[in-house]
C-alpha cells in the first residue's frame, strides 16, 4: 500500500498501491459519424478538438505520474473510444510514448489500440507498432455491406478485411476483430457467412457481441429496419458462434470473447477479475482502492477542467465489501476461469457453495455450470445466462 492519490481531484485521497502493475485505460471520444446503435461516450464533428485533447491528455497522464513520485508500472494499456484511429499516427505515437513513460510497461505488457477499418493505413499501423502497440482491435462489426450501411458504418467488408492484413503486415503481434450479431435483417445464414469470412482471416482474437439496444431511439431504429431477433432466436446465433469458433481452435474465455491460445485480452481479464485500473481522458472509468470514479464525459468540459486545474471527476462512489463481492461475482462469472471459491471465502468470508447449495446443484444438473473444489465455472449455455446466474449466486 502506498500513498494517497488525488491528482484527479477526487476530493478525498484514496490509498493507492504502487507495488502492483496496473491496467491503464485511455478514452478517445471522437468519431467521424455516430453509429445509431452505439452506447459509448462519443462525439462527432469535433475533429478540430483532437489536437488540443491529445495535449491535455498527455498533460494529464504525465501529471499523474509526477504526482505519484515513484512510478507505477503498467500491466496493460488500452486506448479505446470512440475512434482512437481518427487521430493521426504521429499524435497517437506521442500519446503512447507519454503513457509508457508515465507507466513503464512490464515486459509482457499488452498495449492495445482500437482501430476503425476506415482509418487503417500502412502508415497508421506502422506508427502504432513504433509506439509500442502490440495489439489492435479492429471494429469490423460485419462483412456484410448491406448490414454495414444499415449500421451507419463508413466502411465496407473488404475494407475491414484489408485492415486485418495491414495490421499483420506492420508486425502487430495480436490482431483482434469485433463482430456483431442479432442485427436487423441479419438471418442466421448471414451470421454464419460472417463467421466463415472472419475465420478465413484467422485473427488472434474475436469479440462477438449480441447487438444490444440501449434506449428508445435505438429500439425505434432497429424496428424501422426490420427488427432484431430476441431471446431464444438470439441464442441460436450465439450457439453458432460457440460451435464455429471452437471448431476453429478458438478458446471461449468470456461471454463475448474468443482467442487463439495465448491471445486472451489480459487488460480486460484483469478488470473482470477485480483488479484496480486507471483511466484517463473524458468519460473514462477508474478503480483505485475502494473508489470507483469516472471523468467528465464531454470533451469541452474535460479540456476546461484540465486547463483550469479543477477536478476532472464527474462521478465517484466508494464500494462496500458487498458491492465489491457483487461486482466480482458478476464479472468473474463471465470468464472461463469463473469464480475462485477460495478467494471469495478468504477475501469476503463468503462460502458460496455452502450458502447457495441448491442453486449450485441445479446449475450443475441443468448443465449451466461446473463445480470443482476451488472453482465454479459456467459452460457455454451458462455463459449466455451469466447475469441471471450471478443474481442467484449473490449472498442473501
Amino acid at each position: 500500500m502506498g500513498m494517497a492519490i488525488d491528482h484527479h481531484r477526487l476530493g478525498s485521497p484514496v490509498p493507492f498501491r504502487t507495488d502492483e502493475p496496473t491496467p491503464v485505460y485511455v478514452h478517445v471520444p471522437f468519431c467521424a459519424k455516430r453509429c445509431w446503435y452505439c452506447d459509448f461516450n462519443v462525439v462527432t464533428g469535433l475533429g478540430r478538438l483532437t489536437g488540443e485533447y491529445l495535449k491535455a491528455l498527455i498533460g494529464d497522464v504525465a501529471g499523474f505520474a509526477k504526482f505519484l513520485q515513484s512510478p507505477r508500472a503498467s500491466h496493460s494499456i488500452y486506448i479505446g473510444g470512440g475512434t482512437p484511429s481518427i487521430i493521426s499516427g504521429a499524435r497517437l505515437r506521442a500519446l503512447l510514448e507519454a503513457l509508457t513513460a508515465a507507466f513503464p510497461p512490464v515486459p509482457d505488457a499488452e498495449i492495445t489500440v482500437e482501430v476503425n477499418p476506415t482509418d487503417a493505413t500502412p502508415q497508421l499501423m506502422r506508427a502504432l507498432a513504433d509506439g509500442g502497440t502490440n495489439r489492435v482491435s479492429i471494429g469490423v462489426q460485419t462483412f456484410d455491406d448491406t448490414r454495414l450501411a444499415e449500421l451507419d458504418r463508413l466502411h465496407d467488408g473488404d475494407r475491414a478485411a484489408e485492415a486485418v492484413h495491414l495490421a499483420r503486415a506492420a508486425g502487430l503481434a495480436s490482431v483482434s476483430i469485433d463482430l456483431l450479431y442479432g442485427l436487423p435483417n441479419q438471418k442466421p445464414d448471414h451470421w454464419e457467412a460472417d463467421l466463415v469470412r472472419a475465420l478465413a482471416l484467422r485473427p488472434d482474437h474475436i469479440s462477438a457481441y449480441a447487438l444490444t439496444l440501449y434506449g428508445a431511439g435505438a429500439d425505434a431504429r432497429a424496428t424501422t429496419l426490420g427488427g432484431t431477433p430476441a431471446g431464444d432466436a438470439l441464442a441460436g446465433y450465439y450457439d453458432l458462434a460457440v460451435a464455429r469458433l471452437a471448431a476453429a481452435g478458438y478458446e471461449h474465455y468470456e461471454v463475448s470473447n474468443w482467442a487463439l491460445p495465448g491471445h486472451r485480452s489480459r487488460h480486460n481479464l484483469a478488470i473482470w477479475q477485480g483488479s484496480e485500473y486507471l483511466g484517463f481522458g473524458c468519460g473514462a472509468h477508474a478503480v483505485v482502492g475502494r473508489r470507483r470514479y469516472s471523468t467528465l464525459r464531454m470533451p469541452a468540459a474535460y479540456l476546461e477542467a484540465r486547463s483550469s486545474g479543477t477536478s476532472v471527476v464527474e462521478w465517484q462512489e466508494d464500494l462496500t465489501d458487498a458491492d465489491r463481492l457483487a461486482e466480482l461475482i458478476a464479472t468473474a462469472l463471465r470468464t472461463a476461469d469463473g469464480l475462485d471459491l477460495e478467494h471469495l471465502r478468504g477475501a469476503f468470508g463468503y462460502d458460496l457453495v455452502a450458502q447457495r447449495e441448491a442453486v449450485c446443484a441445479s446449475l450443475q444438473s441443468s448443465g449451466y455450470a461446473r463445480l470443482t473444489a476451488d472453482r465454479l465455472t459456467l459452460t457455454d449455455p451458462g455463459l449466455f445466462l451469466a447475469d441471471g446466474i450471478a443474481a442467484e449466486l449473490l449472498p442473501e
Partner: protein, 602 residues
C-alpha cells in the same frame, strides 16, 4: 318532546342505483337549509373518506341533521341518511332504512330503473317505508323523463303524476323534493314517556370516545351520563356524550324519541356495540329489544399476506383498526407454505375487498399478496362435524365429506329486451336457474334468477356488461345454502403443491377451470433460469400441464470499465425484484400469480 314536536321531524334516506345522484341531492338539501356554511361546503359533502372522494362513490352511509323552513310556515327537523349504491354495501342501505320512516327514491332520467333501484325499493317496502319517487338529472339532453316516470309508476304502482322531477345538479326541483318529504313522509311515532329504546343503525370508532353508536331513538330519551346497556352484546356502558350530525359530531343535551343522533359509549370494540342492537337504559332489564336485523355477512374470502414477512404484525394492526369502523370485515390468522403468515379475510364483495386492500396498502404502508377469492362453504364430514370452510386448502377429501353446501343468491338484472338471450346464456354458464321476466317498459326488462354466489364473484359483472354493451345493471342478495358438488383444484409447481394457489370449483367444470388456472399462471410466471413445470390436479390426479421454458439469454453482451457499475445496479434491481416474488423451491412466483383469476386481461 311532545307529539306536536314529533310531527315536525322527518327521518329519511335517499335511495337509488349507483350514481343516480344521491350524494348530489344531499348537497343541494344541505345548501338549501344552510346546514353547512358556504365555506365548508364542497361537492358530495357527505362522502368524507378519501377513497369515496377519489372514486366518486359512497362507501359508508352518513347522516346529517338539517332545519328546513317549509312552505307551511313551520320549521322541520330533517335527519337525512345518505347511503351507498354499490351492491357490496347494500346492507348499509338496509340498516339506514331501518332508522327512517321514509325514503326519497331517485331514478336517473336517462338510465331509468336499474337493478339496485328495484332491490332498494323492495327493502324499503318490506320495512313499510313511505317513498317519494323522483326522476333526477332531467337537465340531461338524453333524459327520457316521461318514459322513466312510466317505469317507476309500473314498479311502485303509483300514479305517474305523483313522481317529481329534479335536477340535483342545477337545483331545479330541490324545494319540491323537500316539500314532499314534509308532506308525504310520515313523522316518526314514538313515545318519549316510555322506557328508552334506540336502534343502533351504524357505528364508528373514535380514539377518545371509543365506539360511537349511531342511533335512532324509538322511545324514551337519553342524556349525557346515562347508564346504557346493549342486550345483544350484553355490554353495559355510559353515554359519554350524546349528539347530532351536522354532519360533524355536535353534542346536544339530550336525544328523544323520533330523533337521530349518536352516543359516545366508551366501548373499545365495535363488536361490543353491533349494528342492529338496541340501546336500553341500564336497569331496564325487562324492556324488549327492537327487532334489529342481521349483521352484514362477508361473502367473499381471500388470503391476505404481507409481501415482507416481518410486516405480519403491522397487517394485523391494520386489519384491527379498519374493523373498528367496518363491522363487515372479518379475519382469522392462517399460515401458508408459500406465503408464510397472513389472514383469511372476509369481504362483502370484490369492491369491498379492493377498498380494504387499498386502505391497508396506503394507510398502513403495506405491500400485500392476495390469493384468489372464494365463497364460504358449509361442510359436514362423515362423523357429523359441521364446519364452514373459507380456505381451499381446508376443504377435506371427498372421502371424508358427507355434504358440502354453497351459498346461492337472488340475482336481478335489468337489461334491454334484445339482450335477454345473452343474459340467459351467461346465467346458464354459472349454473343459474332461469327465473322470471318482468317488463319495465316494452323495451326493458327486469330478470330474476337464483344462482350460486361463486359464479357471480369474480367477473360476472364485467361479462354481463360486455354481453349487453354496458346496458345491463345487476344486484344480488344472499338467499340460501344448497348442496353442492365441489372439488379442490390444486396447482403443483415443479412437482410441489402450492397451497396458496388452490381454489374450489364445482366438479363439473373443475377440469376446465384448473386448465384455465395453469394457463394463466404460465402467462404470469416469468421465464427463469430453470424450466418451470406447472400441473393442475384434482384429488391428486394431474389433469392439466403447462411449462414455462427456461430462459436462453440473460446476459449483457459487453462488460467493460464503465459497464461494471451499471451491471451492479442491475443486479441490485434484480435482487429487489426477486424479493418481491415468492419462492417455491427454485421457482420465483410473482404476486399476481396468487390472484390470477382476478386478472381480467387473462
Amino acid at each position: 318532546m311532545s307529539a306536536a314536536d314529533l310531527k315536525r321531524i322527518r327521518n329519511f334516506c335517499i335511495i337509488a342505483h349507483v350514481d343516480h345522484g344521491k350524494s348530489t341531492l344531499a348537497d343541494r338539501l344541505i345548501e338549501m337549509t344552510s346546514a353547512v356554511s358556504d365555506r365548508e361546503m364542497r361537492e358530495q359533502l357527505l362522502d368524507t373518506l378519501d377513497l369515496e372522494r377519489e372514486h366518486g362513490i359512497t362507501i359508508k352511509a352518513t347522516a346529517i341533521r338539517m332545519d328546513y323552513a317549509a312552505d307551511d310556515g313551520e320549521d322541520y327537523q330533517f335527519n337525512l341518511i345518505d347511503t351507498p349504491g354499490h351492491v357490496d354495501f347494500s346492507y348499509e342501505v338496509s340498516r339506514a332504512l331501518a332508522a327512517c320512516e321514509g325514503a326519497v327514491l331517485l331514478v336517473d332520467a336517462s338510465q331509468g330503473i336499474e337493478a339496485q333501484t328495484v332491490a332498494h325499493v323492495h327493502k324499503a317496502l318490506k320495512l313499510d317505508l313511505e317513498l317519494v319517487p323522483v326522476v333526477n338529472k332531467v337537465d340531461m339532453p338524453s333524459a327520457r323523463t316521461e318514459a322513466v316516470k312510466g317505469e317507476i309508476a309500473e314498479v311502485l304502482g303509483v300514479d305517474a303524476g305523483e313522481i317529481l322531477e329534479l335536477s340535483a345538479k342545477t337545483g331545479l326541483g330541490v324545494r319540491g323534493v323537500a316539500e314532499a318529504v314534509v308532506n308525504r313522509l310520515p313523522a316518526p311515532m314514538g313515545d318519549e314517556d316510555k322506557e328508552l329504546r334506540a336502534l343502533v343503525f351504524d357505528s364508528s370508532y373514535d380514539k377518545h370516545q371509543g365506539v360511537m353508536a349511531y342511533v335512532r331513538v324509538v322511545d324514551g330519551w337519553l342524556q349525557k351520563g346515562d347508564g346504557i346497556r346493549l342486550p345483544g352484546s350484553r355490554q353495559d356502558a355510559e353515554a359519554f356524550e350524546v349528539g347530532i350530525f351536522t354532519p360533524a359530531f355536535q353534542p346536544v343535551d339530550w336525544l328523544t324519541a323520533g330523533e337521530v343522533g349518536y352516543v359516545g359509549t366508551g366501548l373499545k370494540d365495535i363488536q361490543d356495540c353491533p349494528v342492529g342492537d338496541t340501546l336500553l337504559r341500564l336497569g331496564d332489564d325487562t324492556v324488549e329489544a327492537l327487532p334489529g336485523y342481521e349483521p352484514a355477512k362477508p361473502m367473499v374470502f381471500a388470503g391476505v399476506y404481507p409481501e415482507h414477512p416481518p410486516d405480519f404484525a403491522a397487517l394485523r394492526k391494520g386489519l384491527e383498526t379498519l374493523r373498528l369502523n367496518d363491522s363487515a370485515l372479518t379475519f382469522e390468522p392462517e399460515e401458508s407454505g408459500a406465503l408464510g403468515f397472513g389472514f383469511r379475510v372476509g369481504f362483502l364483495g370484490l369492491l369491498h375487498m379492493g377498498i380494504v386492500r387499498e386502505r391497508l396498502e396506503r394507510e398502513y404502508d403495506l405491500d400485500l399478496v392476495m390469493t384468489n377469492p372464494n365463497v364460504e362453504y358449509e361442510i359436514t364430514t362423515h362423523d357429523g362435524t359441521v364446519a364452514t370452510v373459507g380456505r381451499p386448502s381446508e376443504l377435506p377429501d371427498r372421502s371424508n365429506l358427507e355434504v358440502v353446501k354453497e351459498p346461492w343468491a337472488d340475482l336481478s338484472v335489468v337489461a334491454p329486451t334484445e339482450y335477454i338471450g345473452s343474459v340467459i346464456e351467461l346465467v346458464r354458464q354459472i349454473r343459474g336457474e332461469i327465473g322470471e321476466i318482468e317488463y319495465l317498459e316494452p323495451t326493458r326488462v327486469l330478470l330474476s334468477y337464483r344462482v350460486p354466489l361463486a359464479g357471480l364473484l369474480i367477473d360476472f359483472f364485467d361479462r354481463l356488461k360486455s354481453a349487453t354493451r354496458g346496458y345491463a345493471s345487476m344486484d344480488y342478495e344472499l338467499s340460501e345454502y344448497r348442496a353442492a358438488d365441489v372439488v379442490r383444484l390444486d396447482v403443483l409447481v415443479n412437482g410441489e403443491p402450492v397451497d396458496a394457489l388452490s381454489v374450489i370449483a364445482d366438479r363439473e367444470s373443475g377440469t376446465l377451470r384448473v386448465r384455465e388456472i395453469v394457463q394463466r399462471l404460465r402467462k404470469v410466471i416469468p421465464r427463469q433460469l430453470f424450466p418451470v413445470a406447472l400441473q393442475g390436479a384434482i384429488g391428486g390426479r394431474v389433469v392439466a400441464r403447462e411449462n414455462v421454458p427456461a430462459m436462453r439469454k440473460d446476459v449483457l453482451a459487453k462488460c467493460y470499465g464503465g459497464d461494471v457499475t451499471r451491471k451492479r445496479k442491475l443486479l441490485e434491481k434484480q435482487k429487489a425484484g426477486k424479493k418481491r416474488m415468492k419462492r417455491v423451491g427454485q421457482v420465483e412466483i410473482p404476486q399476481e400469480a396468487f390472484s390470477s383469476l382476478l386478472d381480467r386481461s387473462g
